[in-house]
């Protein structure tokens, strides 16, 4: 099943299948690219950022970024 990264549940794991074009370059530096395994750690309240695990490192992403990343879970 495919869903947006910010729609993932706590502790849910998935693989990145699609990233919006203009965002691709921007998040490559934190190690997020298609084919990468990502685990949801926390979703902050009040439209705050999501914290995900990428390559054993916790990385926080703004909602506007997270909803442009499509995951296969």
């Amino acid at each position: 099943m495919q869903k947006k990264l910010n729609e993932m549940a706590y502790d849910e794991e998935g693989v990145v299948v699609k990233i919006e074009e203009d965002l691709r370059q921007k998040i490559a530096g934190v190690g997020i690219r298609t084919g990468k395994k990502i685990k949801m750690i926390t979703k902050e309240p009040l439209k705050g950022p999501v914290v995900v695990m990428v390559d054993e490192a916790k990385t926080s992403l703004g909602l506007s970024v997270a909803d442009k990343i499509i995951m296969e879970v």
Binding site: Q25, G29, G31, V54, D55, E56, A57
Partner: protein
Amino acid sequence: MRVLLMGHPNVGKSVFFNRLTGANVIESNYPGTTVDYTKGYMRQFGEDIEVIDVPGTFSLDPKDKAEEVAVKMLRDNKDAKIICVVDASKIERGLYLLLEIIEEGFPVVVALNMWDTAMDKNIQIDAPELEQILGVPVVPTVGISGEGISAVVSKLKDITPVDADAIVERMGGI
């Protein structure tokens, strides 16, 4: 000679800086401890070498003030040599910035820092193979104990820029 310490936030650049210069800048186990640059000197190869501790950045496409400082430091020091500090336990994400720096035409030594942590996590890295592919020196280091740091320094003397396209070729294309 001028040397810039570059790398992601929280990979140990400031620990390296203190080791190299004998300075005592604040280190902590949090990303974003260094938001402005610090300058120091070390005596090596019979000359005083300026060492600059650059704030951590994920890429050369800055997203906040600290990253802007980092990118500006690099752009303003076209003749500098770079020690690229990479967290060995999170090596893949560090390679992106490293390749960007190589692509800009800077001579680079790679310090695979926190080598001990990577070993503890059972992450095996073939440093000689990586060195072969990148064409730049790759040295395993442990910042807090000082292991490998003198090896990094000794490599600084002879490094030259490498061709990024040749790296892609050695990888067998993108």
